[in-house]
Protein backbone atom coordinates (compact mmCIF):
# COMPACT_ATOMS: atom_id res chain seq x y z
CA UNK A 1 0.00 0.00 0.00
CA UNK A 2 2.75 2.35 1.02
CA UNK A 3 4.69 1.38 -2.07
CA UNK A 4 1.68 2.06 -4.28
CA UNK A 5 1.28 5.47 -2.70
CA UNK A 6 4.94 6.23 -3.25
CA UNK A 7 4.69 5.25 -6.91
CA UNK A 8 1.59 7.39 -7.32
CA UNK A 9 3.20 10.40 -5.68
CA UNK A 10 6.40 10.12 -7.67
CA UNK A 11 4.46 9.75 -10.93
CA UNK A 12 2.54 12.87 -10.04
CA UNK A 13 5.84 14.64 -9.35
CA UNK A 14 7.20 13.57 -12.70
CA UNK A 15 4.10 14.90 -14.41
CA UNK A 16 4.44 18.18 -12.54
CA UNK A 17 8.14 18.56 -13.31
CA UNK A 18 8.02 17.75 -17.01
CA UNK A 19 6.68 20.39 -19.39
CA UNK A 20 3.14 19.66 -20.49
CA UNK A 21 4.14 17.87 -23.70
CA UNK A 22 1.52 17.37 -26.33
CA UNK A 23 1.39 15.70 -29.67
CA UNK A 24 -0.30 18.44 -31.61
CA UNK A 25 1.57 20.21 -34.37
CA UNK A 26 1.49 23.26 -36.59
CA UNK A 27 3.13 22.98 -39.97
CA UNK A 28 3.03 24.71 -43.30
CA UNK A 29 4.96 26.52 -45.95
CA UNK A 30 6.39 30.00 -46.35
CA UNK A 31 6.18 31.46 -49.85
CA UNK A 32 6.46 34.84 -51.53
CA UNK A 33 4.45 36.79 -54.08
CA UNK A 34 5.92 39.43 -56.34
CA UNK A 35 9.34 39.62 -57.95
CA UNK A 36 12.21 38.89 -55.58
CA UNK A 37 15.35 41.05 -55.84
CA UNK A 38 18.29 39.55 -57.71
CA UNK A 39 20.88 38.30 -55.25
CA UNK A 40 24.35 39.69 -55.97
CA UNK A 41 27.49 37.60 -56.41
CA UNK A 42 30.10 38.12 -53.68
CA UNK A 43 33.67 38.72 -54.86
CA UNK A 44 36.01 36.95 -52.42
CA UNK A 45 39.15 37.37 -54.54
CA UNK A 46 40.90 39.23 -51.72
CA UNK A 47 40.61 36.06 -49.61
CA UNK A 48 41.89 33.35 -51.96
CA UNK A 49 41.57 30.50 -49.42
CA UNK A 50 37.83 31.25 -49.26
CA UNK A 51 37.34 32.01 -52.95
CA UNK A 52 38.71 28.63 -54.02
CA UNK A 53 36.15 26.81 -51.86
CA UNK A 54 33.36 28.01 -54.13
CA UNK A 55 33.11 26.76 -57.71
CA UNK A 56 30.53 29.46 -58.46
CA UNK A 57 30.40 32.77 -56.59
CA UNK A 58 28.46 32.84 -53.35
CA UNK A 59 25.42 35.09 -53.57
CA UNK A 60 24.05 37.55 -51.00
CA UNK A 61 21.46 35.87 -48.77
CA UNK A 62 19.09 38.60 -47.68
CA UNK A 63 16.24 36.91 -49.57
CA UNK A 64 16.79 33.28 -50.49
CA UNK A 65 14.13 31.62 -52.59
CA UNK A 66 13.48 28.01 -53.54
CA UNK A 67 11.36 26.16 -56.10
CA UNK A 68 7.62 26.90 -56.04
CA UNK A 69 8.07 30.44 -54.70
CA UNK A 70 9.40 28.99 -51.43
CA UNK A 71 11.18 31.32 -49.02
CA UNK A 72 14.23 29.99 -47.23
CA UNK A 73 15.76 31.10 -43.91
CA UNK A 74 12.43 32.18 -42.42
CA UNK A 75 12.18 31.56 -38.68
CA UNK A 76 8.70 30.36 -37.70
CA UNK A 77 8.06 30.15 -33.97
CA UNK A 78 5.43 30.24 -31.26
CA UNK A 79 5.55 33.81 -30.00
CA UNK A 80 2.68 33.52 -27.50
CA UNK A 81 0.96 30.67 -25.73
CA UNK A 82 3.93 28.32 -25.88
CA UNK A 83 4.25 25.87 -22.99
CA UNK A 84 7.06 26.57 -20.54
CA UNK A 85 10.18 24.62 -21.29
CA UNK A 86 13.15 23.68 -19.19
CA UNK A 87 16.53 25.23 -19.94
CA UNK A 88 17.93 23.94 -23.23
CA UNK A 89 21.03 21.81 -22.99
CA UNK A 90 21.74 20.90 -26.61
CA UNK A 91 24.73 22.85 -27.93
CA UNK A 92 24.23 24.34 -31.39
CA UNK A 93 26.96 24.76 -33.96
CA UNK A 94 27.68 27.83 -36.06
CA UNK A 95 30.36 27.73 -38.72
CA UNK A 96 32.50 30.29 -40.48
CA UNK A 97 33.35 28.38 -43.62
CA UNK A 98 34.41 29.67 -47.01
CA UNK A 99 33.97 33.18 -45.60
CA UNK A 100 30.27 32.53 -45.09
CA UNK A 101 28.15 31.98 -42.00
CA UNK A 102 26.58 28.54 -41.93
CA UNK A 103 23.71 28.49 -41.31
CA UNK A 104 22.83 31.98 -42.49
CA UNK A 105 20.16 32.16 -39.79
CA UNK A 106 20.73 30.38 -36.48
CA UNK A 107 17.62 30.15 -34.30
CA UNK A 108 18.11 29.27 -30.66
CA UNK A 109 16.39 29.37 -27.32
CA UNK A 110 17.45 31.87 -24.69
CA UNK A 111 20.26 30.39 -22.58
CA UNK A 112 20.96 27.74 -25.19
CA UNK A 113 24.70 27.18 -25.53
CA UNK A 114 26.23 27.38 -29.00
CA UNK A 115 29.72 27.10 -30.43
CA UNK A 116 31.24 29.19 -33.19
CA UNK A 117 33.84 27.45 -35.35
CA UNK A 118 36.38 28.94 -37.73
CA UNK A 119 36.86 26.33 -40.45
CA UNK A 120 38.84 28.70 -42.69
CA UNK A 121 42.54 29.26 -43.21
CA UNK A 122 42.08 32.92 -42.38
CA UNK A 123 41.17 34.92 -39.29
CA UNK A 124 37.60 35.93 -38.63
CA UNK A 125 36.24 38.45 -36.17
CA UNK A 126 32.64 37.63 -35.42
CA UNK A 127 30.58 40.59 -34.25
CA UNK A 128 26.95 39.95 -33.28
CA UNK A 129 25.31 43.40 -33.09
CA UNK A 130 23.28 42.71 -29.94
CA UNK A 131 21.40 45.58 -28.32
CA UNK A 132 19.37 43.86 -25.58
CA UNK A 133 22.01 41.27 -24.76
CA UNK A 134 25.64 42.23 -24.17
CA UNK A 135 27.49 43.07 -27.39
CA UNK A 136 30.89 41.56 -28.11
CA UNK A 137 33.22 40.75 -30.95
CA UNK A 138 35.86 38.05 -30.97
CA UNK A 139 38.85 37.37 -33.18
CA UNK A 140 39.38 33.80 -34.18
CA UNK A 141 42.56 32.89 -36.06
CA UNK A 142 42.60 29.62 -38.01
CA UNK A 143 42.92 26.52 -35.86
CA UNK A 144 41.75 28.13 -32.63
CA UNK A 145 39.12 26.34 -30.51
CA UNK A 146 35.45 27.23 -30.96
CA UNK A 147 34.00 30.26 -29.19
CA UNK A 148 31.43 29.27 -26.56
CA UNK A 149 28.48 31.61 -26.28
CA UNK A 150 24.87 31.98 -25.22
CA UNK A 151 22.31 34.75 -24.98
CA UNK A 152 20.03 35.20 -22.01
CA UNK A 153 17.32 37.36 -23.52
CA UNK A 154 15.21 36.97 -26.65
CA UNK A 155 16.52 39.17 -29.47
CA UNK A 156 17.04 39.19 -33.23
CA UNK A 157 20.76 39.85 -33.60
CA UNK A 158 22.43 40.70 -36.93
CA UNK A 159 25.86 39.09 -37.15
CA UNK A 160 28.77 40.45 -39.14
CA UNK A 161 32.45 39.74 -39.57
CA UNK A 162 34.68 42.69 -38.79
CA UNK A 163 37.25 41.49 -41.32
CA UNK A 164 35.11 40.35 -44.27
CA UNK A 165 32.38 42.93 -44.85
CA UNK A 166 30.28 40.60 -47.02
CA UNK A 167 29.82 38.04 -44.21
CA UNK A 168 26.38 38.45 -42.68
CA UNK A 169 23.99 36.31 -40.71
CA UNK A 170 21.46 36.36 -37.89
CA UNK A 171 21.11 34.92 -34.42
CA UNK A 172 17.43 34.63 -33.56
CA UNK A 173 17.15 34.14 -29.79
CA UNK A 174 13.66 33.03 -28.75
CA UNK A 175 11.93 32.35 -25.47
CA UNK A 176 10.51 29.11 -26.80
CA UNK A 177 11.85 25.77 -27.94
CA UNK A 178 9.10 25.60 -30.56
CA UNK A 179 10.73 27.06 -33.63
CA UNK A 180 11.66 26.01 -37.11
CA UNK A 181 13.82 27.56 -39.84
CA UNK A 182 12.62 26.99 -43.39
CA UNK A 183 14.82 25.20 -45.89
CA UNK A 184 14.72 25.65 -49.66
CA UNK A 185 11.22 24.11 -49.82
CA UNK A 186 9.91 26.81 -47.44
CA UNK A 187 8.32 24.25 -45.13
CA UNK A 188 8.26 24.37 -41.35
CA UNK A 189 6.89 22.22 -38.59
CA UNK A 190 6.28 22.99 -34.90
CA UNK A 191 5.79 19.75 -33.00
CA UNK A 192 4.93 18.45 -29.51
CA UNK A 193 2.32 21.09 -28.81
CA UNK A 194 -0.42 20.53 -26.24
CA UNK A 195 -3.92 21.82 -26.85
CA UNK A 196 -4.07 25.60 -26.58
CA UNK A 197 -4.23 28.97 -28.25
CA UNK A 198 -1.02 30.04 -29.96
CA UNK A 199 0.38 32.95 -31.87
CA UNK A 200 2.74 31.86 -34.62
CA UNK A 201 5.26 34.38 -35.95
CA UNK A 202 7.24 34.16 -39.17
CA UNK A 203 10.35 36.33 -39.46
CA UNK A 204 12.31 37.05 -42.62
CA UNK A 205 15.36 39.29 -42.41
CA UNK A 206 14.29 42.04 -44.79
CA UNK A 207 10.52 41.88 -44.33
CA UNK A 208 8.03 42.84 -41.64
CA UNK A 209 7.36 39.80 -39.41
CA UNK A 210 3.94 38.18 -39.79
CA UNK A 211 1.78 36.56 -37.14
CA UNK A 212 -1.22 34.22 -37.15
CA UNK A 213 -3.34 32.92 -34.30
CA UNK A 214 -3.92 29.17 -34.17
CA UNK A 215 -6.08 27.19 -31.74
CA UNK A 216 -5.07 23.57 -31.35
CA UNK A 217 -7.17 20.77 -29.86
CA UNK A 218 -5.45 17.89 -28.08
CA UNK A 219 -3.36 15.92 -30.58
CA UNK A 220 -4.55 18.09 -33.44
CA UNK A 221 -2.37 18.96 -36.43
CA UNK A 222 -3.03 22.20 -38.22
CA UNK A 223 -1.64 23.70 -41.36
CA UNK A 224 -0.69 27.38 -41.50
CA UNK A 225 0.94 29.13 -44.43
CA UNK A 226 2.70 32.47 -44.61
CA UNK A 227 3.09 34.58 -47.72
CA UNK A 228 5.55 37.47 -47.90
CA UNK A 229 5.16 40.18 -50.49
CA UNK A 230 8.54 40.96 -52.04
CA UNK A 231 9.72 43.74 -54.32
CA UNK A 232 12.50 43.59 -56.91
CA UNK A 233 14.28 46.56 -55.31
Amino acid sequence: MALALLVAVSSALVVLAAPPAGNGSISGKVTYTGTPPKMKPIDMSKEPTCAKQHATPVMTENLVTGPGNALQDVVVYISAGAPETSAPTQTLRYDQKGCQYLPHVLAMEANQPFEIYNDDQTSHNIHPLAKVNPEWNKSQPPGTPPIQAKYEKPERIPVKCNIHPWMHGYFIVLNTSHFSVTGDDGSFSLKDLPAGKYTVTAWQEQSEPQTQDVTLGAGESKSVNFTFKVLPY
Binding site: M39, E47, N62, P158, K160, N162, H164, W166
Partner: protein, 265 residues
Protein backbone atom coordinates in the same frame (compact mmCIF):
# COMPACT_ATOMS: atom_id res chain seq x y z
CA UNK B 1 89.91 51.64 -32.68
CA UNK B 2 89.35 54.87 -34.58
CA UNK B 3 90.65 53.32 -37.80
CA UNK B 4 88.46 50.23 -37.37
CA UNK B 5 85.41 52.44 -36.93
CA UNK B 6 86.36 54.48 -40.00
CA UNK B 7 86.69 51.29 -42.04
CA UNK B 8 83.32 50.00 -40.80
CA UNK B 9 81.70 53.34 -41.68
CA UNK B 10 83.14 53.19 -45.18
CA UNK B 11 82.03 49.57 -45.68
CA UNK B 12 78.45 50.28 -44.48
CA UNK B 13 78.29 53.33 -46.77
CA UNK B 14 79.59 51.51 -49.85
CA UNK B 15 77.36 48.48 -49.21
CA UNK B 16 74.25 50.72 -48.87
CA UNK B 17 75.11 52.50 -52.10
CA UNK B 18 75.81 49.20 -53.85
CA UNK B 19 72.30 47.81 -53.20
CA UNK B 20 70.75 50.91 -54.73
CA UNK B 21 73.18 51.07 -57.65
CA UNK B 22 72.72 47.36 -58.39
CA UNK B 23 68.91 47.76 -58.04
CA UNK B 24 68.76 44.73 -55.74
CA UNK B 25 65.41 45.73 -54.21
CA UNK B 26 63.99 47.95 -56.88
CA UNK B 27 60.62 49.46 -57.71
CA UNK B 28 58.00 47.17 -59.30
CA UNK B 29 57.24 47.38 -62.99
CA UNK B 30 55.53 50.63 -64.03
CA UNK B 31 52.26 50.22 -65.97
CA UNK B 32 51.04 53.82 -66.01
CA UNK B 33 51.36 56.63 -68.53
CA UNK B 34 52.50 59.12 -65.87
CA UNK B 35 54.83 56.57 -64.20
CA UNK B 36 58.03 57.41 -66.13
CA UNK B 37 57.83 60.99 -64.83
CA UNK B 38 57.45 59.74 -61.26
CA UNK B 39 60.28 57.25 -61.67
CA UNK B 40 62.51 59.91 -63.23
CA UNK B 41 61.85 62.15 -60.25
CA UNK B 42 62.58 59.35 -57.78
CA UNK B 43 65.83 58.46 -59.55
CA UNK B 44 66.95 62.11 -59.70
CA UNK B 45 66.25 62.47 -55.99
CA UNK B 46 68.11 59.27 -55.23
CA UNK B 47 71.09 60.29 -57.36
CA UNK B 48 71.39 63.71 -55.76
CA UNK B 49 70.90 62.55 -52.22
CA UNK B 50 72.93 59.41 -52.92
CA UNK B 51 75.96 61.36 -54.15
CA UNK B 52 75.77 63.69 -51.14
CA UNK B 53 75.32 60.71 -48.82
CA UNK B 54 78.32 58.90 -50.32
CA UNK B 55 80.59 61.96 -50.21
CA UNK B 56 79.64 63.06 -46.71
CA UNK B 57 79.89 59.55 -45.21
CA UNK B 58 83.25 58.90 -46.87
CA UNK B 59 84.51 62.31 -45.72
CA UNK B 60 83.37 61.44 -42.22
CA UNK B 61 85.16 58.10 -42.43
CA UNK B 62 88.28 59.91 -43.69
CA UNK B 63 88.28 62.32 -40.78
CA UNK B 64 87.71 59.49 -38.31
CA UNK B 65 90.60 57.57 -39.94
CA UNK B 66 92.96 60.49 -39.77
CA UNK B 67 91.99 62.12 -36.47
CA UNK B 68 90.21 59.30 -34.63
CA UNK B 69 93.15 58.26 -32.46
CA UNK B 70 94.31 59.89 -29.25
CA UNK B 71 95.66 63.34 -30.06
CA UNK B 72 97.09 64.90 -26.95
CA UNK B 73 98.51 68.30 -27.63
CA UNK B 74 96.98 68.39 -31.14
CA UNK B 75 95.61 71.76 -32.06
CA UNK B 76 91.83 71.82 -32.73
CA UNK B 77 91.34 73.17 -36.22
CA UNK B 78 88.42 75.38 -37.21
CA UNK B 79 86.83 76.24 -40.53
CA UNK B 80 87.81 79.62 -41.82
CA UNK B 81 85.15 82.03 -40.60
CA UNK B 82 83.84 79.67 -37.93
CA UNK B 83 80.80 77.35 -37.76
CA UNK B 84 78.31 80.04 -38.68
CA UNK B 85 79.59 80.30 -42.26
CA UNK B 86 79.55 76.50 -42.70
CA UNK B 87 76.01 76.14 -41.35
CA UNK B 88 74.82 78.95 -43.61
CA UNK B 89 76.55 77.42 -46.64
CA UNK B 90 74.95 74.02 -45.94
CA UNK B 91 71.56 75.70 -45.50
CA UNK B 92 71.87 77.38 -48.91
CA UNK B 93 73.23 74.33 -50.75
CA UNK B 94 70.64 71.90 -49.36
CA UNK B 95 67.88 74.49 -49.79
CA UNK B 96 68.75 74.96 -53.45
CA UNK B 97 68.84 71.21 -53.94
CA UNK B 98 65.41 70.69 -52.42
CA UNK B 99 63.88 73.65 -54.26
CA UNK B 100 65.31 72.44 -57.57
CA UNK B 101 63.94 68.94 -57.02
CA UNK B 102 60.53 70.36 -56.07
CA UNK B 103 60.51 72.64 -59.10
CA UNK B 104 61.18 69.84 -61.56
CA UNK B 105 58.89 67.45 -59.66
CA UNK B 106 55.98 69.86 -59.51
CA UNK B 107 55.20 69.30 -63.19
CA UNK B 108 54.75 65.58 -62.63
CA UNK B 109 52.72 66.21 -59.47
CA UNK B 110 50.50 68.79 -61.15
CA UNK B 111 49.87 66.42 -64.06
CA UNK B 112 48.53 63.88 -61.61
CA UNK B 113 46.66 66.03 -59.12
CA UNK B 114 45.97 69.52 -60.51
CA UNK B 115 45.04 68.85 -64.10
CA UNK B 116 41.52 67.55 -64.64
CA UNK B 117 40.97 64.08 -66.05
CA UNK B 118 40.65 63.77 -69.82
CA UNK B 119 37.05 64.32 -70.95
CA UNK B 120 36.83 60.82 -72.43
CA UNK B 121 37.84 59.19 -69.13
CA UNK B 122 36.09 56.09 -67.88
CA UNK B 123 34.57 57.03 -64.54
CA UNK B 124 34.58 54.44 -61.75
CA UNK B 125 33.46 55.00 -58.17
CA UNK B 126 35.47 53.49 -55.32
CA UNK B 127 34.17 52.72 -51.84
CA UNK B 128 36.66 51.75 -49.15
CA UNK B 129 35.61 50.24 -45.84
CA UNK B 130 37.05 48.05 -43.12
CA UNK B 131 38.54 45.94 -44.74
CA UNK B 132 37.79 45.87 -48.44
CA UNK B 133 37.46 47.97 -51.58
CA UNK B 134 34.37 48.04 -53.78
CA UNK B 135 34.06 49.48 -57.28
CA UNK B 136 31.02 50.86 -59.07
CA UNK B 137 30.49 51.22 -62.82
CA UNK B 138 27.67 53.28 -64.29
CA UNK B 139 26.13 50.33 -66.17
CA UNK B 140 24.49 50.37 -69.61
CA UNK B 141 22.72 53.71 -69.07
CA UNK B 142 26.07 55.47 -68.47
CA UNK B 143 24.63 57.16 -65.37
CA UNK B 144 25.51 56.67 -61.74
CA UNK B 145 22.69 56.42 -59.22
CA UNK B 146 22.74 58.79 -56.26
CA UNK B 147 24.43 57.81 -53.02
CA UNK B 148 22.45 57.59 -49.76
CA UNK B 149 24.78 56.68 -46.89
CA UNK B 150 21.82 55.69 -44.69
CA UNK B 151 21.01 52.89 -47.14
CA UNK B 152 24.47 51.31 -46.98
CA UNK B 153 23.98 47.65 -46.05
CA UNK B 154 26.75 45.11 -46.42
CA UNK B 155 24.23 42.31 -45.80
CA UNK B 156 22.50 42.78 -49.15
CA UNK B 157 25.57 43.97 -51.03
CA UNK B 158 24.57 47.66 -51.04
CA UNK B 159 28.08 48.91 -50.24
CA UNK B 160 27.54 52.33 -51.83
CA UNK B 161 24.10 53.16 -50.43
CA UNK B 162 22.17 53.03 -53.71
CA UNK B 163 18.40 53.44 -53.80
CA UNK B 164 17.23 51.30 -56.73
CA UNK B 165 13.63 51.34 -55.46
CA UNK B 166 13.30 55.08 -56.19
CA UNK B 167 16.31 55.86 -58.37
CA UNK B 168 16.17 54.38 -61.86
CA UNK B 169 19.78 55.34 -62.64
CA UNK B 170 20.99 53.19 -59.72
CA UNK B 171 19.31 49.99 -60.94
CA UNK B 172 21.90 49.03 -63.53
CA UNK B 173 24.95 50.25 -61.59
CA UNK B 174 27.52 47.46 -61.42
CA UNK B 175 29.17 46.96 -58.03
CA UNK B 176 32.09 44.55 -57.81
CA UNK B 177 34.98 43.74 -55.50
CA UNK B 178 37.77 43.97 -58.11
CA UNK B 179 38.79 46.82 -60.37
CA UNK B 180 38.78 45.91 -64.06
CA UNK B 181 39.83 48.56 -66.58
CA UNK B 182 40.69 48.77 -70.28
CA UNK B 183 44.31 49.40 -71.27
CA UNK B 184 45.33 52.78 -72.78
CA UNK B 185 42.11 54.45 -71.67
CA UNK B 186 42.14 57.37 -69.22
CA UNK B 187 40.50 56.28 -65.97
CA UNK B 188 38.94 58.62 -63.42
CA UNK B 189 38.37 57.19 -59.95
CA UNK B 190 36.30 58.94 -57.31
CA UNK B 191 37.41 57.69 -53.92
CA UNK B 192 34.99 57.42 -50.99
CA UNK B 193 35.29 55.78 -47.62
CA UNK B 194 32.48 54.52 -45.44
CA UNK B 195 34.16 54.55 -42.07
CA UNK B 196 37.65 56.00 -41.66
CA UNK B 197 40.85 56.95 -43.46
CA UNK B 198 42.08 54.34 -45.90
CA UNK B 199 44.55 54.62 -48.74
CA UNK B 200 44.44 53.47 -52.35
CA UNK B 201 47.89 52.25 -53.32
CA UNK B 202 48.89 50.50 -56.52
CA UNK B 203 52.69 50.52 -56.70
CA UNK B 204 52.65 49.47 -60.37
CA UNK B 205 50.44 52.48 -61.19
CA UNK B 206 52.67 54.80 -59.16
CA UNK B 207 49.55 55.99 -57.34
CA UNK B 208 49.02 56.30 -53.63
CA UNK B 209 46.13 58.40 -52.41
CA UNK B 210 44.53 58.68 -48.99
CA UNK B 211 40.76 58.34 -48.84
CA UNK B 212 39.19 60.62 -46.25
CA UNK B 213 35.68 60.29 -44.77
CA UNK B 214 33.34 62.97 -46.07
CA UNK B 215 35.47 63.79 -49.11
CA UNK B 216 35.14 62.71 -52.72
CA UNK B 217 38.70 62.47 -53.95
CA UNK B 218 39.31 62.20 -57.69
CA UNK B 219 42.41 60.55 -59.13
CA UNK B 220 43.11 59.83 -62.76
CA UNK B 221 45.58 57.69 -64.63
CA UNK B 222 46.04 55.64 -67.77
CA UNK B 223 47.35 52.10 -67.64
CA UNK B 224 49.51 51.25 -70.63
CA UNK B 225 50.13 47.57 -69.94
CA UNK B 226 47.73 44.69 -69.39
CA UNK B 227 48.08 42.55 -66.29
CA UNK B 228 46.80 41.93 -62.79
CA UNK B 229 48.14 43.73 -59.72
CA UNK B 230 47.28 44.30 -56.09
CA UNK B 231 45.51 47.34 -54.65
CA UNK B 232 46.45 47.71 -50.99
CA UNK B 233 45.43 49.98 -48.14
CA UNK B 234 48.39 51.89 -46.72
CA UNK B 235 46.71 53.65 -43.80
CA UNK B 236 46.60 51.55 -40.64
CA UNK B 237 42.84 51.17 -40.37
CA UNK B 238 42.26 48.48 -37.76
CA UNK B 239 42.70 44.83 -37.02
CA UNK B 240 42.05 43.65 -40.56
CA UNK B 241 44.28 46.28 -42.20
CA UNK B 242 46.86 43.66 -43.20
CA UNK B 243 44.12 41.99 -45.16
CA UNK B 244 42.62 45.06 -46.85
CA UNK B 245 43.31 44.62 -50.51
CA UNK B 246 41.71 44.14 -53.89
CA UNK B 247 42.96 43.46 -57.40
CA UNK B 248 43.22 45.64 -60.46
CA UNK B 249 43.10 43.90 -63.79
CA UNK B 250 44.03 45.78 -66.94
CA UNK B 251 42.46 44.16 -70.02
CA UNK B 252 42.58 44.85 -73.76
CA UNK B 253 39.53 46.93 -74.76
CA UNK B 254 37.63 44.02 -76.35
CA UNK B 255 38.15 41.77 -73.32
CA UNK B 256 37.07 44.62 -71.06
CA UNK B 257 33.90 45.15 -73.10
CA UNK B 258 33.12 41.45 -72.77
CA UNK B 259 33.71 41.56 -69.04
CA UNK B 260 31.50 44.61 -68.61
CA UNK B 261 28.73 42.98 -70.62
CA UNK B 262 28.91 39.84 -68.50
CA UNK B 263 28.60 41.94 -65.35
CA UNK B 264 25.44 43.72 -66.38
CA UNK B 265 23.50 40.53 -67.05
Amino acid sequence: MGKAFAALLAIVTLASVYFFAARTWWMPVDISAHGPGVDHQIIETMLLTGVLFLLSQLALAGFVWKFGGPGEGRKIGTFPGGARVVVFAVFVVVGIEILTLSFFGSKVWAGMFFEPAAPNSLHIDVQAEQFAFFFRYAGPDGQFGGIHPELINDGNGNYFGLDPANDVAARDDIVVGSLTIPVNKPILLTLHTKDMIHSFFVPELRIQQDIVPGLEIPIHFTAVQTGKHEIVCTQLCGLGHYNMKAYIEVLPQDKYDEWLKSQSQ
